[in-house]
Amino acid sequence: MPEAAASPIHSPMKHQFETLAQQHHADTLGMWVFLGTEVLFFGGLITAYVLYRTAYSAAFAHASLTLDIVSGTIMTVVLLGSSLTMAMAVHAAHLGNRRALAVFLILTIVLGLGFLGIKGHEYYQKWEDHHIPGPSFVWDGPDARAAQLFLYFYFALTGLHALHMIIGAGIMGVLLLQNALGRVRTYTVEVSGLYWHFVDIVWIFLFPLLYLVDRHK
């Protein structure tokens, strides 16, 4: 990897570090510690979901079939695509290629917002179908309460994930601005990339857990 001093993307060393490499290592580890807490943050909710799905498997399978598998698959493709553009953005940052960095950051934001757009459309369909948990929840079929519980989990899990996506898109916007001003640090892009990929990984698990419960029936 090129030393940041030789790169147009500058990376000033903070005084508490002895070398730039040590600072980069600390940056990376710090982000991984945060992601570890995020694993448990989502993990607790997913654990609760898995347990209730075991307890009410028939109702959860029925409720899962109301989710749109086509939009779910498209969202997966869009998000994996954004992970590719993010990886390319980090690559561009390491090479000091500001123009490529800007292009890939914009692509990442566009794909991220595309994901949120499809998600929003899905939420709108749920609203139209009266599948939002609460007083206006309507369910024709058995086990209405368990089906409502599934939808509680659906909105909590995807909502929390969407919130992370919004924050991620915001971070990319800040990086884009810093890049335009020529002040972006390579390792800021690197650790922001770690965050973005993590949010992608959360969706990798949410998609089969929520959308693919019992499709074969």
Partner: protein, 101 residues
């Protein structure tokens, strides 16, 4: 750091796995449906962590930090399962039903 061609290859693999998981969901494998779906998800996550998140190209300390959250999650899942999934095994008079509302 990996080359861009590595990123494209990993992305292609991820795409194949994404469509595979959707496709396999429509085939009746009985109890293996959720197991296969989770195996594919873990494979995809591993590819992202190793290549997109550069864990493969960094020191062992980064690897330990990256795997730590996952290990704690396994402990969480395992210990909670020993409670909830075994409650129905022994009939205990007056016991609370496993997952009542």
């Amino acid at each position: 750091m990996p080359s861009t061609s590595t990123y494209y290859k990993i992305f292609a693999l991820l795409m194949i796995l994404a469509f595979a998981t959707t496709g396999i969901a429509f085939i009746d494998l009985g109890i293996f449906n959720p197991i296969v779906a989770m195996l594919i998800a873990v494979t995809k996550a591993t590819l992202v962590v190793l290549f997109f998140m550069h864990v493969r190209y960094q020191g062992r300390l980064t690897f330990v930090f990256a795997i730590a959250g996952f290990c704690w999650l396994l402990i969480l899942l395992l210990l909670i399962s020993t409670d909830y999934l075994t409650r129905a095994w022994l009939p205990i008079p007056g016991a609370i039903p496993p997952m009542g509302f």
